[in-house]
Structure formats: C-alpha cells, structure tokens
C-alpha cells in the first residue's frame, strides 16, 4: 500500500474513533457538560499520544536502536519525587497556592535537566554506550522512587491525602489543568520538527554516514535528545508512565510503512498512537467497564509484542 493511502486510512480511523469517543452512549441530560468533559479527555489522549510517539521514534533514530524507549529513563519516579519534595518543603497549602502551572513547569524543568545530565554522559569525555546510560537511568529511577517513598513517610498523612491525587496521574484521572500549556508545547515542537525531518532521515543512517553527509552529529543528537526529554516529561506529567506504548506504536508504524522517511514514520506513529489510546480508552471505559487502568493493558500488550518481535528476529 502507498504510504499516503495508509496515512489517509489512519486519519479516517482516528476521526471515527474520536467521534465515537465523543458521542457514543450520550445520556439524556446534561449533554453539553458531558461533551465538554469528554472533549477534554480526548484532547489529553491526543496530546499524550503525539508526545509519546514523537519522542520514541526520534529517540530510536538518534540511538540507532529499535527496542529502546525514553520512558524507561526513570522520569516518572522523578516526577513523583519532585511533587513529594514540593509537598514536603512547602506543605499542602502553599503548594495549592503555587498553582498547577508553575508546579508543572518546575517539574518538567527538573525532568529535562535530569535527562540532559544523563544524556551528557553519551557525549562527555568518557563516552558511555547508550544502553549503559539507559541502565543508569533506570537505577536512578529506582533511587528517585525510594527517595519519594522516604519523604512520603515524613509527610503529615492529612497533607498527603490532599495532594495525593496530584501525584498519581493516570488515564482515568488525566491532569486536565495542565492540558492547555502542554498542548501548546507539544504543538510547537511538532511544527518545529517539520523543518528537521531531513536531518532525522540522515541521522538514521548512523553516525559515520551522517557526518560524511555534512550533519553535525553531536549537535543534532543533542538537540533531538532535548526534544525527547521535553516530550517525555510532558507525557509523564499528564498521564503517568506508559512505558511500552511508544515502542508498540513506533514498531507497528515501521511495519505498516516500511520506510526511513520521517515525514511518513512520524505521522504514522502519531496517528497509530492516537488510535490505540482512543480506542483503548473507549473499550475500557464504556464497553467492558473494566476497573483496571488502561496503562496496565498497554504495558502488557506492548511488552508481549516487543518480546515476541525480538525472539522471532533473534536479534535487537
């Protein structure tokens, strides 16, 4: 199939599922209110889907590795730690006064600084292999999680309850207050990327070829990794950790659109990712009435897909 046709079909599917999400099983009363709630949720799903798809595919291109995802860097526990520390240092009241936007921006800034510090190991004097950096990131993730639970023990239980909802974002309780600012950032990054598509194409050829073709590999990688860090941080803050969604959709996108062109890979993975999230949420919330968070199923399906893919191919 022509990539263009694939994209068209995907767009139609996404539009259909979005319409279903909005209008399926509309109850009699309070239509306007329910529609508004659903639209906010839909928007959150779409922003997350785009952020995760773009960050994973860029990360795989820069790292030249198809089984890696920035989601395992430990950013989710870092977010938890920042929230806990803020609560610990400021107390629930002043945290509530601080406003969610500045809180969000602060957390995202910390996450970006951390990912950049980790990535700098890739380019520093003693360069580390990328897998080692990821492994370190995971260890740091555990450290942050442990530190967060330590500080949670120190916090007054009443205060802890007041702000608990803020810390554990999930698909069922999307952090809607942050939706506007994060959608602006994601949209801006997506637009800016249009100008860098050809550089991404060159980067996917590998370091040596990219340098031969006149791309400053080091600078370009650093730039793209910053973008990856921002997008991952935003997705984590919005809905919490979804480790395998990115891997799943990017890998599927590469299968249905077997090309190296990012002008096709990126939109395909974004659309697939939206489709997965919208349909998944629809099935979960309104058809099966499951009480399980959708991220568990995504992690299960994504993990199985990835492992079987690896086993069948026999290599990374």
């Amino acid at each position: 199939m022509q990539p263009r046709h694939t994209l068209t079909i995907l767009v139609i599917l996404v539009a259909l599922s979005a319409a279903l999400f909005l209008f399926y099983q509309l109850p009699g009363g309070a239509v306007a209110y329910i529609l508004e709630r659903r639209a906010i949720k839909l928007a959150a799903l779409i922003v997350t889907a785009v952020a995760i798809a773009i960050s994973t595919s860029i990360f795989q291109t820069v790292s030249g590795n198809r089984i890696l995802t920035p989601s395992i860097l430990g950013l989710d526990t870092l977010y938890l730690l920042v929230q806990t520390l803020l609560m610990f240092l400021l107390g629930a009241k002043s945290l509530a006064m601080m406003g969610r936007i500045s809180d969000f921006l602060l957390s995202v800034a910390v996450m970006i600084v951390f990912s950049l510090a980790l990535f700098s190991l890739l380019f520093g004097k003693h360069t580390m292999p990328l897998t080692m950096v990821l492994f370190l990131g995971m260890v740091f993730g555990q450290l942050f999680g442990a530190l967060a639970s330590f500080f949670q023990l120190l916090i007054d239980p009443n205060e802890f309850l007041t702000v608990q909802a803020r810390m554990f974002a999930s698909f069922n309780s999307v952090n809607t207050a942050l939706l506007f600012s994060s959608s602006v950032i994601v949209a801006a990054i997506a637009c800016a990327l249009v100008f860098f598509l050809d550089i991404l194409d060159v980067l996917s050829l590998g370091r040596e070829s990219a340098i031969t073709l006149g791309v400053d590999h080091r600078r370009a990688s650093r730039l793209f990794l910053i973008i990856v860090a921002i997008l991952t941080a935003i997705a984590t803050a919005l809905v919490g950790p979804v480790t395998f969604l990115g891997l799943l959709v990017v890998s599927l996108a590469r299968q249905i659109a077997p090309t190296y062109r990012h002008s096709i890979i990126l939109p395909t993975s974004c659309l697939l990712s939206m489709l997965f999230l919208i349909v998944g949420q629809l099935l979960f919330e309104r058809i099966f009435h499951f009480n399980t968070p959708i991220s568990i199923i995504i992690n299960f399906a994504g993990g199985i897909y990835l492992l079987s893919h690896l086993i069948l191919r026999g290599t990374v």
Partner: protein, 322 residues
C-alpha cells in the same frame, strides 16, 4: 588450596576475619536497638522479637547476595540478578495466585508456589535471552526488566480484579518490622541452599564461561544450571514470603566483591555472603534510627544506599578504565 600463594591466602583470611568481626558488631548493635531502651529490654523481648529480627536480616542478606552472584554467573552477565532477571516478578505472581486460590494457604504452600513460579519463570527468561543475540551486556537486564514488567502487569491486573493491590504493594515494600518468633523460621531453609551454593561454587564459575567451555572442562552444564536456578528461586521465594522484596543487594554486593577480587565464586562466596549480611544489617539499623521510634521499610533504605553505591561503582569503573 595448594595453588594459591601464601601471601594471598593470608590476606583473604584477614579480610574475612575483619568482615566477620564487623558482622558480629553490627548484629549486636541490631539486637540492642529498639523502641524499648537496652537496659529495660527483657529476655522475653529479646527472644520473641529482637533475635528473630537480627537472624532473619542476616540470613536474608547473605542469601540474597549469594543468589545475585549465582544469577550473574548463570547468565554470564554482571547486571542480571533475581530482580532484573524476572525471578522476583514471577515469584510475586505465584504468591498472588495462591492467595486468590486459597487465601488461607500456609507459609510453606505460599513459598512452594512462588518458588515454582520463580523457577519456571527464570528458565523461560534464560530461554529468551538465549534466543535473542544481544550484543551489549546492558541489554540483557533491559530485556529482563521488560519481561518482568509484563509479568508484573499480569499480577497488577489480577490484583485489580480480586482487590489484592494492597497485598502486592505490601510485598513490594520489604520490611523486617513484622518479624516475630514463629513468623520467620521458614527462612532457615535458605541455609541448606547456601551450603549447596558453596559446594557448587566452582562449577557455577565454570559454566559462566559458556556451554562449550564448561562441558569440555568436565562440568555437567545443564544439571549445574538447574541447581543454580533451584537455589536462586528458593531464596527469592523464601525472602519474598517472609520479608518482601529487597532490591539492589543482589546487584551491588557481588559486583563490589568481583570488582576487587575477580570472578571466582569459590574464593568469593563467603565474602559475598558476609558482605550481604553486613549490608542488610547496616540498612536495617539506618532504617530504625532515622525516624526513631518509627522505622522506614528496609526496601527504601536498601534502594537508596544500593543505588548510590551502584552508580558510584559504574562511574568509578568507567573512570578507572579510562
């Protein structure tokens, strides 16, 4: 040992002697520590609570560190331990299933179930990493963690369906606070595992060189592999059922020892076990002192200290190599 020169042998002996002394000192400190001050401690408290706690910490620390070292040799990879090699996740799943099936199961039944799951699961993990040719060493634990995540998501799903999420979380937070006389004795089963591990130590070192080399050196590869897996999954199940998950000790302690003393498990196994016991004793004492009279779950302290040590270890090794 005839081939080891005298100097080295004496040094080894000294190191072990120092470690052993430290373990004794820390054990005494652990015994004297508690909400009730040392002078008022009665024999009753000592026998019912303090002694069981110190003993279970020592046994858990020693056996978890040894299990980590064995797992690293079985997979020929420094970063694979029961926690990064999916054994723990499988053991948790087994424990969850027996809880759903018969909520009143005895400790022995629970241990057996999580052991069986851990054993079968680790075999499946070994099969997977054999099928995938992984060029970089750090990819093996990454695959292990992906695999563990899949198993964990099954467990979480089941937990949601049967309202057992809280039990899962309580296992994840390992703590010695609930150890009393009559609730930890099953841990003693780790000691025969440790003895078997000592007897097999040399063979584990040999099979870490790969199937062909170890067979040509006269080791029964498959049988040794299974013995190792049995030890690792028994220890994981025992500690999981009585204490909960204690991360990082199986990763950090063996790596610290092999960094300075090489990979020979027969030479290292007592050092690794003693250091493991010491590490966990120290973590537990910190856990109890920081918020005295309250205490922090040992999984938190062990994670924080273990992570920091491991990061230092990796960064230090890089600088050393450069």
């Amino acid at each position: 040992m005839p081939f080891v020169n005298d100097q080295r042998y004496r040094e080894d002996f000294m190191h072990r002697y120092i470690l052993l002394t430290l373990v004794v000192i820390f054990s005494l400190a652990s015994l004297s520590l508690g909400v009730i001050s040392f002078e008022e401690t009665t024999m009753h408290i000592l026998v019912q609570s303090r002694l069981p706690r110190t003993i279970s910490i020592l046994i858990s620390g020693m056996s978890l560190a040894t299990a980590g070292a064995i797992m690293q040799l079985l997979t020929s990879n420094r970063f694979v331990t029961p926690t990064t090699g999916s054994t723990t996740e499988w053991a948790k799943l087994g424990l969850l299933i027996i809880l759903i099936w018969t909520p009143q199961a005895s400790v022995v039944t629970k241990t057996l179930f999580s052991f069986a799951f851990g054993f079968a699961g680790t075999i499946s993990f070994l099969f997977i990493i054999k099928r995938i040719k992984l060029k970089e060493a750090t990819l093996v634990p990454l695959v292990g963690i992906i695999y563990g995540n899949i198993i964990a998501s099954i467990a979480t799903y089941l937990g949601y369906q049967h309202d057992l999420i809280q039990s899962i979380q309580s296992w994840t937070q390992g703590t010695f606070a609930l150890i009393l006389k009559g609730r930890y004795e099953v841990l003693y089963l780790s000691i025969p595992c440790l003895i078997v591990a000592m007897l097999y130590a040399n063979r584990f070192t040999l099979i870490s060189m790969g199937r062909e080399i170890s067979i040509s050196l006269g080791v029964r590869y498959q049988a040794t592999l299974y013995v190792g897996l049995l030890i690792v999954s028994t220890i994981s199940a025992l500690v999981l059922v009585t204490v909960g998950v204690i991360p990082f000790i199986g990763l950090v302690v063996p790596n610290m020892v092999t960094l300075y003393r090489g990979e020979n498990l027969e030479q290292n196994i007592t050092t690794i076990a003693l250091l493991g016991g010491l590490f966990l004793l120290a973590c537990d004492i910190i856990s109890r002192l920081v918020l005295h009279p309250f205490e922090i779950p040992i999984s938190v302290t062990a994670s924080i200290i273990g992570c920091l040590l491991f990061i230092l270890l990796i960064v230090g090794r890089r600088r050393h190599a450069a």
